[in-house]
């Protein structure tokens, strides 16, 4: 009796196993591949690619995030953006912010990397301190910089008063707010480009310097003819990554100035946030997102192209 009960189970087990081998022969590593990579790929599809498509669709509607229907309006949102003086200000702000932050962090980062690549005592500690702010919360940094930038008792006022210069009300002045935000950004992110440049410097082959010395090059000449050209690819990389990062700056602007005063520090990303989550203008926010996406994609592709060309010339 008991055997009769066991028998069908064993047979079905056999079937099961036979089916597995059959599947393995037929499908190879596919089932395993789906098991291993599937979840991540599905999540990427849902939370990275689908939003991109959905954004394109939203940008063609005028929707307030609440109404059950999303009225289709074609390219109206893009046309409105193109015609809007506010959006032109936003693009200009984005450009100024990018120029100021990328210029500042790249030049200072390179200078610091050159300095801290010398054999100085304590340079490891100096590097560590200069890099530390990169890892800190932008929100927390902004909160204490509000104190530092206070025109009456803030630390930033101190050197200005020593020099007898006027002290602006940084964050409440339409002229100085952008300067202040850029300064805080540079303070936080210079360590990032410094670290990239340090890696670039350490990748320069020693033989090049020796060859330069044998050719009679002094310190200055070998810097001009070896160090600088060899840092070319690093510089390209630093520039592109820094521009992309600066386009994505949000927490500093939100906490330091909330985009103000009077839109003076509203950059593209902040505008998207405002239109989407404060003004509930989903269509316009989506259209602005697509503009941001195209800009960033263009930059990334430019980097790939330039990077390729460099490799060709180098080879």
């Amino acid at each position: 009796m008991a055997r009769d009960v066991v028998q069908p189970a064993a047979v079905s087990g056999l079937h099961w196993r036979a089916m597995l081998t059959w599947m393995q022969q037929k499908l190879g590593d596919w089932p395993l591949f789906v098991l291993f990579a599937g979840p991540n790929l599905v999540l990427l599809a849902i939370f990275t690619y689908w939003p991109l498509l959905y954004n394109v669709y939203l940008s063609l509607t005028s929707w307030d995030l609440i109404a059950p229907v999303k009225p289709f309006v074609g390219l109206t949102n893009y046309r409105n953006l193109a015609a809007s003086a506010e959006f032109r200000t936003v693009l200009l702000n984005t450009a100024i912010f990018a120029l100021g932050t990328v210029g500042g962090t790249t030049i200072l980062g390179l200078a610091l990397a050159l300095l801290l690549n010398l054999r100085l005592r304590g340079r490891t500690l100096a590097r560590a301190i200069i890099f530390a702010p990169v890892l800190l919360s932008g929100a927390a940094i902004s909160v204490f910089w509000i104190n530092m930038l206070d025109p009456r008792f803030g630390l930033v006022a101190l050197p200005l008063r020593w020099l007898g210069l006027p002290v602006p009300d940084w964050l409440n002045s339409p002229h100085w707010a952008m300067v202040a935000v850029i300064l805080v950004y540079i303070w936080q992110n210079t360590g990032f480009s410094m670290v990239l440049y340090l890696a670039g410097l350490q990748n320069i082959p020693h033989e090049l310097y020796e060859a330069a010395r044998i050719d009679g090059a002094g310190a200055v000449a070998s810097f001009r003819h070896v160090t600088l050209p060899q840092l070319g690819p690093t510089t390209l990389f630093v520039l592109v990554v820094s521009v992309i990062n600066s386009f994505q700056a949000f927490d500093l602007i939100k906490v330091l100035t909330d985009g103000g005063p009077v839109n003076a520090t509203t950059t593209l990303l902040f505008y998207i946030y405002q239109q989407g989550f404060v003004a509930f203008n989903a269509g316009r926010a989506a259209a602005a997102s697509i503009v941001l996406f195209v800009l960033l994609l263009g930059l990334s592709l430019l980097q790939l192209r330039l990077g390729e060309r460099r490799v060709h010339y180098g080879g």
């Binding site: 990579a37 979840p39 849902i46 990275t48 300095l115 890892l135 909160v143 204490f144 990032f192 670290v195």
Partner: protein
């Protein structure tokens, strides 16, 4: 000895510059750290008082009680750990499948993963908010965690590394009857520890500091994470009470600084290996 001191003298200007740089970056950090122990009167003095006369440790408890920091910590820890673990797991399994499983079209799949790097988080902000809303996840841990789980960059780093692993060791393991699952955890992962540490740390720091997504996807004080929470403290205390506000910013920053002190090398090497932040 003379040569040595001559060298030191010649390098004096460089030491001066180094000092200036360290001061410029370090002074604001010193300012917060000491400010967290100052009285309001000491903070409102110009020219500034550098060191508090009588350290006011009360500022920390005042900050802790002015906003629900216990909750903020809990939320930040849950979200950060869950996302870091998920990212590590997904990056490992996806990269393993892309390198060690023989299927046709896996380069196409890799392209699918890689292209995600070109989609900035900000473009996905509004649509993901709507997706999360449709799932009923607004103001929940699911909403905070799940949309941030997919991982492209970590997958890329692991794939780069896996392709350098010695085929012989892996083949030997296969001959020993090791299945792919065990091969991944017992052979490949131990040989990839530096990459795993890097991917983990970048995810850890990025999620801990993330501000925009938690700001958008949560709407009650109880569900906020630390970076959003610190702005509450600022609103509650206004500019009246800087001591506790300084103390509160330290609540957010000190955990990351501790991780940094322990794991500086890995973090820096991670950033230079790919240089994508967050």
């Amino acid at each position: 000895m003379a040569a040595k001191s001559w060298r030191l003298l010649r390098q004096l200007p460089w030491y001066g510059l180094m000092l200036v740089a360290v001061f410029a970056i370090g002074l604001p950090l010193f300012w917060v750290a000491t400010g967290s122990l100052k009285t309001t009167r000491e903070i409102y003095t110009f020219p500034p008082v550098w060191l508090p006369q009588h350290p006011r440790w009360d500022n920390f408890s005042a900050a802790w009680h002015a906003a629900p920091f216990g909750r903020f910590y809990l939320n930040s820890i849950i979200v950060t750990l869950a996302d870091t673990a998920a990212k590590l797991f997904f990056a490992l399994t996806t990269a393993y499948a892309l390198v060690f499983l023989n299927i046709r079209g896996r380069n196409l799949v890799f392209l699918f993963v890689l292209a995600a790097l070109f989609v900035p988080v900000q473009v996905t902000l509004l649509p993901n908010y709507l997706t999360v809303g449709r799932l009923g996840w607004i103001n929940t841990y699911f909403g905070l965690i799940v949309p941030m789980m997919p991982v492209a960059f970590g997958t890329f780093l692991f794939r780069q590394h896996f392709r350098t692993l010695s085929r012989e060791v892996l083949d030997a393991a296969v001959i020993d009857g090791c299945g792919h699952w065990r091969l991944l955890w017992d052979v490949v992962l131990p040989m990839s520890r530096p990459v795993a540490v890097t991917v983990g740390l970048l995810a850890l720091v990025g999620r801990w500091n993330d501000f925009l997504w938690p700001l958008v996807v949560t709407n009650t004080v109880e569900m906020r994470t630390l970076p959003v929470g610190i702005t509450y403290l600022y609103q509650v205390e206004g500019v009246q009470n800087w001591g506790p506000i300084f103390a509160g910013t330290l609540f957010v920053m000190v955990p990351v600084l501790l991780v940094y002190i322990v794991a500086q090398r890995w973090i820096v090497s991670g950033i230079t290996s790919g240089a994508v932040k967050g």
